[in-house]
Structure formats: structure tokens, C-alpha cells
Symmetry: C2
Subunit: 479 residues, 2 copies
């Protein structure tokens, strides 16, 4: 049914203004290969197995640590075994932050009702003073309330600032950016007001007793001098209830987090060389690093599995695309897109940014792709509109033309590289994301296979065309 509907839609599209019947934007032979790849993908467990291997044999892989280095070794070996070309590591330097001593951090309410809390330092936070820190909590309903705080100048002096904003779950993960403001910025707002530390209700939507970690931001390179932690939602509820009872709440922390100096990280790169235009590069990526408390299965072991398996299906199809397919497993994404910036800067230096015809990253878990979004020149839209129609049997709708391509694509997108994204269902992504609970058992193999089918079609089709996806300065302006 869907297939026939899709065929009809293609016919209608091809018959529309500007196209003769024979001028459908995608070459029929190329399209046949794309469909064959999708069929194989739906039968394949390769992505699932790659993710299993990474999350088991490496496990957590915090940027800049020996664990991340092991992940690079793992990736080089995996790409080589799978028959990829030009497998290599591009190193870059990184300022290392670690939690110190343990992933299990000691936080407890000391008054009025003593009890332990489940909490975790946010990336970039300082340690408590030696021997720990115990202070009164000042409760803020929201990050905006902290920004608007007009108490006495010393009202927060020596206090622990607590921020209670709740994130709302959605398919697109829309609420994450808003909720993240407190994670990234509360520390300096609190530090500027003399606070001894910051606690936030975990970003994320889970009601499980896991704290959600993640990097903070550092305006003008400034580093925190105070500890900053997230507490799990049930613990935040507890703090909220005690606050509402009117009692003075005191919390004790003992943490060992801090910056450890410069270390080496790297991006791992593998290619399928193009047959006709090997200098033209389709870049598809995922990130290799993860947070330290989980095993980074959804973020982003799944992405590593999906893009690698999609490329591998093309590699073993016996058909070689016109353009080069470059798979990049970025290092140090979680700590500020450090690998992505290094990659883009290196291409600025060697002048190969224009060679990148399009980019996309898989970095939103392992649930199904539901939408094809793009960021390409107007003249290229019919190509992607047809691609979408061809993907409808995978349950995919057509998105808009303002996609960022994924976190590690941001620097390239900023430099004008066209982008696309296979948007995934994120309705439960923030149940697991950045917590100890981001583990391999949360992945459904069939959903991964659907991702690979969409990625194989997309990657093949953009690599096997001669179409330039960039804005065409000589084409009619769009309004």
C-alpha cells in the first residue's frame, strides 16, 4: 500500500512543473541500489552488534581519558576489519575534566531530615573544599528566578543555590535547550552572587533516581571555583517538599571534580572512496566519547553503530558511489564539540571545506527515524523531496529545510556545508541520556535496523549523485 502510494507520488512529482517525466531528480539505477540497501539493512544486526561491542569492550569513555583512547583503538580496529579505506586518527588537544576519585558522589541532606541524595557533578565543576562542604540551601523555582533575584547583596553568600526547573518530554526533545540553561549557566550566576555551590534538578525527564550530568558553559574561558551538581528528580522532589514545609534545609557535599590539564583526544576517520569524484565528500558522523556514569549506548554508541553499518552496507554492495563517503567518529563531543571544531578547523587550514558536499550526524539515541530534514539550496529540494517519498515505507515524513545536521556538524554548517538530518523519535531519550542508565539493554534491534535503512538510502543517494547541494548564487532568490 505505502509503496504504491509512494510510486504514485513520485509520478506526480516527476510530472509537475519544471520536470518532464524523465527528469525525476534521482537516477533510477541509483534509486534501485538505495532500495536494495534499505532491504538489506532491515535484515541486518550489524549496527546493534557494533554498539554492543563498543559499550561492552570499552564501556564509558569520557573525553580525554584512557577510556576514550581505548575507544579510538577499538574504532580503528573495527573500521579496518570491516574493510573501510583510509582509516586514521586525527588527534587534537583537550583540557581534561574528570569527576575524580569515583562516579559515586557523596551528597546528603543534613537538616532537617538527614538522608542521602543521588547526585552527580556537572562537567567542568570544581571540587568541594577538602573535607567537604555543608551549607544552607536557597531554593529557586526556576533559573529565571535566580536571574531575577534581588535579595540582599550577601543573601547567597556561602549558600547552596538550588534550581528546580522541570523539563518536559517531547518527540523532538524540544524542552532540552530550555532546561539546559540552568545546567550550563547557573554556576556563574550563583558564583557571582557569592554562593558556595549549585545544585539543580536534573535536566532530563526521568523519574528514576539517576542524576543527569552534562557539560556547563564557560563564558570567556572562565572556570568554576564552586561545585555544581545535578540531583535526581526524586531527590529534587524531596528538596522541594522540605522547602515547602518551611524548614531550613542544609546539604552536605563531598566531591573531587576538577580540571586536570591538557591531554590528547582524537577523531577516527574511515572512508569509501568515490568512483568518479573522490574529492567530493559526503560526511556522516557520530561521536565516540560518552559521559562517564553510563556506558554511552544511546549517546552515542547507537550513532556509531548506525552510521558505520550504513556505510558498511554500501561497501559490501559491490557498487561504489560517485563521491567519497567519509565516516567520522568524533572525539570529545560531550565536553563542547571539541573534536568537531578540530575537524572543521583542519579543513579550513587545508582548504577542503568546499569539498564537503553534505553532512549529517546520528546522535539522538536508537529509536526510529521519523523525519528527513535538510539544509540545502532551493534547487536541491526536489532531490530530497523525492528521497523522502522513497523513504516513506520506513515511516518517515518530510521535515523542513533548516536542519543543523547534528551537534558535531555545527562547525561545518557554520562554514556553509549543506546539511541533512534523519530525525529520531526522542520521546524517551531524556529518560536515559547522560545518566548511569544509558546502557545497551535500552536499545531495540529492530529500531536500529530502521535507522540503518534510512541512513543507507540517504548516504548512498547523496554520494551517488552529481547534484551540488549548496545554495546556488545564480539561481532565483527564494523568499
Amino acid at each position: 500500500m505505502l509503496r504504491s502510494a509512494a510510486a504514485l507520488a513520485v509520478t506526480l512529482l516527476a510530472a509537475g512543473p519544471g520536470f518532464a517525466q524523465t527528469e525525476a531528480p534521482i537516477d533510477p539505477d541509483s534509486l534501485a541500489t538505495a532500495h536494495a540497501l534499505a532491504e538489506q539493512a532491515l535484515e541486518s544486526d550489524l549496527a546493534y552488534e557494533i554498539t554492543e561491542s563498543l559499550t561492552t569492550e570499552v564501556g564509558p569513555r569520557l573525553a580525554g581519558t584512557p577510556h576514550e583512547a581505548r575507544a579510538r583503538d577499538w574504532a580503528v580496529e573495527m573500521f579496518t576489519e570491516l574493510g573501510f579505506e583510509n582509516v586514521r586518527v586525527e588527534q587534537f588537544e583537550l583540557d581534561l575534566w574528570t569527576r575524580g576519585r569515583s562516579i559515586y558522589e557523596e551528597v546528603a541532606i543534613t537538616a532537617p531530615f538527614p538522608q542521602p541524595l543521588y547526585a552527580t557533578s556537572l562537567g567542568g565543576a570544581a571540587a568541594t573544599p577538602e573535607g567537604g562542604l555543608e551549607a544552607e540551601v536557597v531554593f529557586f523555582d526556576s533559573f529565571d528566578d535566580l536571574l531575577a533575584f534581588d535579595g540582599a547583596d550577601d543573601a547567597l553568600e556561602g549558600k547552596l543555590v538550588f534550581i528546580n526547573d522541570r523539563m518536559v518530554a517531547s518527540r523532538t526533545g524540544e524542552g532540552y535547550g530550555w532546561a539546559n540553561r540552568k545546567r550550563t549557566r547557573a554556576w556563574h550566576e550563583a558564583e557571582d552572587r557569592g554562593a558556595a555551590g549549585v545544585l539543580i534538578r536534573s535536566v532530563g525527564t526521568s523519574s528514576n533516581r539517576f542524576a543527569h550530568t552534562g557539560m556547563m558553559s564557560f563564558p570567556e574561558g572562565r572556570r568554576p571555583e564552586i561545585p555544581a551538581l545535578a540531583v535526581s528528580a526524586p531527590d529534587a522532589d524531596q528538596i522541594e517538599r522540605i522547602h515547602e514545609s518551611g524548614e531550613t534545609l542544609r546539604i552536605r557535599l563531598q566531591t573531587y571534580a576538577g580540571w586536570r590539564g591538557e591531554v590528547v583526544s582524537g577523531n577516527v576517520i574511515a572512508e569509501i572512496e568515490g568512483s568518479e569524484a573522490p574529492d567530493e565528500i559526503v560526511i556522516i558522523g557520530a561521536h565516540l566519547d560518552s559521559w562517564d556514569t553510563g556506558t554511552g549506548a544511546l549517546d552515542d554508541g547507537a550513532g556509531v553503530g548506525i552510521v558505520t553499518a550504513a556505510a558498511r552496507l554500501i561497501l559490501e554492495s559491490g557498487q561504489r558511489p560517485r563521491r567519497t563517503i567519509r565516516v567520522v567518529l568524533f572525539g570529545a563531543e560531550e565536553v563542547g564539540l571539541v573534536g568537531a571544531r578540530a575537524y572543521a578547523n583542519a579543513r579550513m587550514q587545508d582548504g577542503t571545506i568546499p569539498n564537503h558536499v553534505i553532512g549529517s550526524e546520528s546522535d539522538f539515541g536508537a529509536r526510529e527515524v521519523y523525519r528527513l530534514s535538510t539544509n540545502v539550496g532551493e534547487h536541491a529540494l526536489p532531490f530530497f523531496d523525492q528521497m523522502h517519498v522513497e523513504m516513506q515505507h520506513l515511516g518517515i515524513v518530510r521535515g523542513g529545510n533548516e536542519s543543523g545536521g547534528g551537534p558535531d556538524m555545527i562547525p561545518l554548517a557554520f562554514m556553509g556545508v549543506p546539511m541533512a538530518r534523519l530525525d529520531q523519535n526522542g520521546e524517551d531519550y531524556f529518560e536515559f541520556h547522560h545518566t548511569p542508565n544509558d546502557t545497551f539493554d535500552k536499545i531495540v534491534p529492530e529500531e536500529m535496523a530502521q535507522n540503518v535503512a534510512a541512513w543507507a538510502m540517504f548516504t548512498w543517494l547523496v554520494a551517488d549523485t552529481g547534484l551540488d547541494f549548496r545554495d546556488q548564487p545564480d539561481s532565483a532568490p527564494s523568499e
Copy 2:
């Protein structure tokens, strides 16, 4: 609809052999009060609020600790405020076991793929030697495989025994007893074979990264000399995958658990004195202690809320039942029914066991009651059969006549006290049970209210009748 069906069924029952129309076993006035209580219960948040108060203002309350003592103070104050009579604490002695130092225990795979694990000492376990313990893992698919192990005499010497049994979820929690064998008994089976420690896949059905604690058993009072821990299901999966890869697995532990000597615990008792037969006691209970890693909301803060709220509804109804209703909040349930044994022993001493006309405990979470089970004399079955019919509007079916009444009722049941139980839906109980994730947010107020409605009906009806529920030696033998 359901109400009319129920009414019809009562008519049919009352008209059946042995009963004239006027001889329905439950007095109509008493029944009217029971229905009025149920209606009020469905509108009341009292149980929910009691559980909120206990889990917030006390939080975790491990048996024998100052936290459990705070829970007793809390309970005395609560009962007194709610207007109960004869509020008192009955103390008993207890051998204290604690996790030591922290609820966050350090466990990690050291080879072949170093990474932290989420694990927790089982109740009664010993600490690791000072400085920790690192050893090779010997993998057993099941507890039965350990029992059947016929390797060399020294095959487990100095090793860590890992047991991988999986528990299956069910409405009745049926799989718990079977799965628990490894928790309670693996330590001495392993210790007898020279093992340096025991790790088990967590009992419970959660795929979240929480380890499930719980007490071990101590045949002939023997105490473990080795550490024994549960690891979360995702971590057990990781151990299983590495085992299946054929690599030698090594794990490092550092724990501080141990027995701390004799301390005081207690049961908190409150009553509604009977109007006509105050010496006849209906005992309803729950337990006040909890494990230390969660806040004991489902186990058994909910039970505390449910039985207290049911009794309080009766108290404020203005009607006084014939018999005395005794609410007992038991101490030290989790560590071996210590409070329940102390209670029963004291009644053995003072000769009041025969005064206990029936008992029941709420200790299976906060989901809805779906079944009324009993353990009463044959002649009393029509009374409970009618009670069931009257409860059908709450969605409750009739269970069998072999109920144990609940964990803390076991000693009384053993001494011949009749029992009943309002069995709860346990299909997700073992998602949370005995983990950090047993917190107040997991409770649905409407489901608690349904519990209170059933408990208020049950408690009122058994307290307001003159019927003896014990087996009648002179009645016809049942077959």
C-alpha cells in the same frame, strides 16, 4: 452496573442452601457503615499524605539505626495527632547490620574491559579486606548450577562467584521466592567452596541501573566472612557478555559492610478500642523500617499509610466497632521479621494470642488491591464471600483460603491466628523494590485510595462482627 451485579449476587448467595433470606452473614447496618467508609476512602488523600510525610521527614530507615528510631518517634506523634488510643512503642533488641561508610559502594571490572559497576552489598554481608579485593570471576548461569558444581575442590578458592538467574515479573510477584534463593543462600554455598566473595544479578525485574539489596539468611546463626553483593541488571548483562566472549573477567570491590552489635528497635502500636468485646483484637499492620538505599515508599511506607488511613476513617466515623482494632507498625521487618517475632513472642508470654481474631498486613507496594484472600475456618467463608461481593465495585476478586496474611503476620499465623490479605497488583513492584528507586513519586494517589477503601471495609467488617474466624473443632471436617 457492577453494584447491581453485586447486589444480585448477594441475593443469590443469601438465598442459597443453608441461608434464609434474612441470614446473610454480614449484618446490614454494619455493611452500610462499611460502604460509607469505602466511599469516604475513595475521596481521601490521607494514606498518600502519611506516606509522603514518612518518606520525606524520615526518609530511609534501616532497622536498628537512628533513622528507624526517628520513624518510631514520627509514628507515635502521627498516631497521637490522629486520635488513636493506647499509642505505645514495644521495644526489642536487634543485631545491627549496616553497609558502613556509604550507600554508594565501589565495584568495578578491572579486566578485560575496565569500567565501574553499580552494585550494593546484600544485608548481612561482610566487608572486603581492608584496601579492597580484586579477583577472577567464576560465572554460574544459575544458583542451581552453583549447587551442582563439581569442579576441582579448589576451583572457587579465592574467586568471585557470580550468579546470573533472572527473575520474571508477574502480578503476584510469584518469581520472587525462587529468585531470592541466590540472594539468601549463595554466600554460604560459595564460602563453603572457598570463594572470596559473591556477586549476583539483582533480584527484581528492573532494567534500570539499580542494584536490589535485601537480607541474606544465616543458617544456625552463622555469619558471612565474605562480601556478597548484587549488581544491577545492565551490569549483570555486561558481565554475561564478557563471560560469553571467553575472556577472563576480574572485578574489584571495596565495601565496608558488617555487623555492629546489639541495638534497640521497636514496634509502634495504636488502637481503636472495641465497644463490646475490647479484648478481641483485629490486628492490621505494615512495617516501619525500610532498606537504606531508597526511601521505602512502596516498601513499606505505602502500607503504613494504607492501614493507618483505613483505621483513622473508622475512628472518625463516629461508629465504634465491637472489637478492638490494633494497628501495628512493625520494626525490623526487612532484616528477618524481627519485630513481628518479638510481637508474637510477647503475646505468647502474656497469653493473648487467642484474643487475636484475625490479622492482615499491607506490604506489597501501592498499586490497587485486586483480590481478597483468607485463611479462616470453613464456617467463616460465607462471611468473606459476602465481603468479597461487597468489594466488587473496587475491582476485587475472591482469592483462596490459604493466605499467609503478609510477612509480619507469619509468626501469628504460625500460632493459629486466622488471616486475610488484600492482595495487590505486583506487576511492577519489583521494578522499584529494595533499590534506590523506591521513592514517593512512584505512588499513584488514586491507587492508594482504592487500597484504603478495601482496607476500611475489611477492617470494619471483621471488627464489627461477633463471628469467630478460627477453625471450629466441632464443625464438620472439610476435605
